[in-house]
């Protein structure tokens, strides 16, 4: 193969060739600043990761590792699967594309597909953004994605996991004071039993007025494997 020459005809001003799957040339493969202390690096990266996890847990008062809501600003509730559009459940399309695309298992490491969708109460509306384009990371719900990370390789059964709904009662607090929310029972294995919980309890409609309600849906898939998000989506009613 070393004799095969790839011709791009006359040199174009625009780069048009696709990426070659060949291995990098040795000339560009170099270590610039000496050996990396992997042990130390991994320790530091782990520390950073823990900090991010803690910040995320504080922010959303949700224990992402054990998939349990905590006390705090948001009130988490399980919601019925059918009450949200199906794109929160259906498996990511990307997986298919990845399988088809000519190359290789390396996409596992490469992939890092990160999907974050914000949806207005009307379903998919102009409120839908990609997080990449967010420039506002100040104190509002849009920086949800800022520190949340999830499992990318989700099991195929993910579609069966119910959505979690969280409420932020700060503004409407007074209105709701007289009717304290019924606490959701969290089983030890919410993945398997949450569905049953829902069957037993009828789904209670959101208590704030529809026009006030903004539903924020977050679909996160992995950036790193350590965080095991038991859920795939969360719905926020503010």
């Amino acid at each position: 193969m070393s004799n095969v020459r790839i011709s791009n005809g006359s040199p174009t001003l625009e780069r048009m060739e696709a990426r070659q799957s060949e291995y990098p040339k040795p000339s560009a493969c170099r270590n610039l600043f000496g050996p990396v202390n992997h042990e130390e690096l991994n320790r530091d990266l782990k520390k950073h990761r823990q900090e991010m996890e803690e910040a995320c847990q504080r922010k959303w008062n949700f224990d992402f590792q054990n998939h349990k809501p905590l006390e705090g600003r948001y009130e988490w509730q399980a919601v019925e699967k059918g009450s949200s559009p199906d794109f929160y459940f259906r498996p990511p399309r990307l997986l298919k594309a990845v399988c088809k695309s000519a190359s290789r298992q390396s996409l596992d490491v490469n992939g890092n597909c990160q999907n974050v969708v914000f949806v207005g109460s009307q379903g998919i509306s102009e409120d839908t953004h990609c997080v990449d384009q967010k420039t506002d990371v100040s104190e509002n719900q849009t920086d949800f994605a800022e520190q949340c990370t999830g499992q990318r390789k989700r099991p195929a059964t993910d579609g069966n996991i119910p959505l979690l709904k969280i409420k932020e009662p700060t503004q409407q607090k007074k209105r709701f004071q007289k009717t304290p929310p019924v606490p959701v029972q969290w089983s030890k294995h919410p993945r398997n039993q949450a569905q049953e919980d829902i069957k037993r309890k009828p789904f209670s409609p959101p208590r704030c007025r529809a026009e006030d309600a903004r539903v924020l849906v977050h679909r996160v898939r992995q950036l790193h494997p350590a965080l095991d998000l038991g859920f795939t989506s969360a719905t926020v009613v503010v």
Binding site: N3, V4, R5, I6, S7, N8, G9, L13, E14, R15, M16, E17, A18, R19, Q20, Y23, P24, K25, S27, A28, C29, R30, N31, L32, F33, G34, P35, V36, N37, H38, L41, N42, L45, K46, H48, R49, M52, S101, S106, L107, V109, N110, N112, V131, D132, Q133, K134, T135, V137, D143, A145, E146, Q147, T149, L223, H224
Partner: protein
């Protein structure tokens, strides 16, 4: 040489057409505002970093450009990656031995932002001579995007170049050659610490002027004459024409010194030298092929 096979089947890359609706003044004004929010701190070497020195940025930047070139990345990937790198270093003190990891991670994320088929983590690790591992790169990615507050769609000079060209009354092939040359200057500027204080719009305008000057297009087209063009572009980006000229001169002197260094280096690889010499004769085109 004996027999060689000539393969003409080249997989071409698929790109979307530019959206004409996005190349208007309203968008340009928004971009001029937005570029301020994604700019790195000018003084991070002094104020934040303890181990990392300006010359190390040059080393890592040169390597990154080489990788982007070899992997035929989209042109924006490299400047965007450098924007991430500078912004990260503006917040976080980093060990020298991890600078390459950061550089690789920045390319990894920038490539995902701009390309249909992004660079893989393994490939980037190979380019570091396997001094880092894919899982470390993924962990670093998480840290990077967090430190950048997920604000990844930073403006690059390339975004502005398209706007400038749209506004210029020129034939398409003239625009294409200006674009190509200007993009080369942009990449060159991204490797140099002196340009860190210039916003992307300024780099873009300076690069376009330098490209037109280098191509001697001002002689035949009055619109492209030096005075006229600098006046026009400085109005578009709302800056003083003198600032723009200063930036353009800085770009030209950077090019000159880079070429001089490259000649001393005497590039050894077979194909590259031929291209370089051809370009050097009239105007420096592919500075990126020069081993800076």
């Amino acid at each position: 040489m004996e027999h060689q096979l000539l393969c003409c089947e080249v997989e071409t890359i698929r790109r979307a057409y530019l959206d004409a609706n996005l190349l208007n003044d309203r968008v340009l004004q928004t971009m001029l505002k937005a570029e301020e929010t994604c700019s790195p701190s000018v003084s991070y070497f002094k104020c934040v970093q303890k181990e990392i020195l300006p010359y190390m940025r040059k080393i890592v930047a040169t390597w990154m450009l080489e990788v982007c070139e070899e992997q035929k990345c989209e042109e924006e990937v490299f400047p965007l990656a450098m924007n991430y790198l500078d912004r990260f270093l503006s917040f976080e003190p980093l060990k020298k031995s991890r600078l390459q990891l950061l550089g690789a991670t920045c390319m990894f994320v920038a490539s995902k932002m701009k390309e249909t088929i992004p660079l893989t983590a393994e490939k980037l690790c190979i380019y570091t001579d396997n001094s880092i591992r894919p899982d470390e790169l993924l962990q670093m990615e998480l840290l990077l995007v967090n430190k950048l507050k997920w604000n990844l769609a930073a403006m690059t000079p390339h975004d502005f170049i398209e706007h400038f060209l749209t506004k210029m009354p020129l034939a398409e092939d003239t625009k294409q050659i200006i674009r190509k040359h200007a993009q080369t200057f942009v990449a060159l500027c991204a490797t140099d610490i002196k340009f860190i204080s210039n916003p992307p719009s300024m780099i873009a305008a300076g690069s376009v002027v330098a490209a037109v000057q280098g191509l001697h297009l001002g002689n035949t087209n009055t619109f492209l004459s030096y005075q006229c063009l600098t006046h026009f572009l400085s109005q578009v980006i709302k800056c003083d024409p003198d600032c723009l000229r200063a930036c353009q001169e800085q770009i030209e002197s950077l090019l000159e010194s880079s070429l001089r260094q490259a000649q001393q280096h005497n590039v050894s690889s077979e194909t590259k030298t031929v291209e370089d010499e051809a370009d050097l004769s009239c105007t420096p085109t592919d500075v990126r092929d020069v081993n800076i």
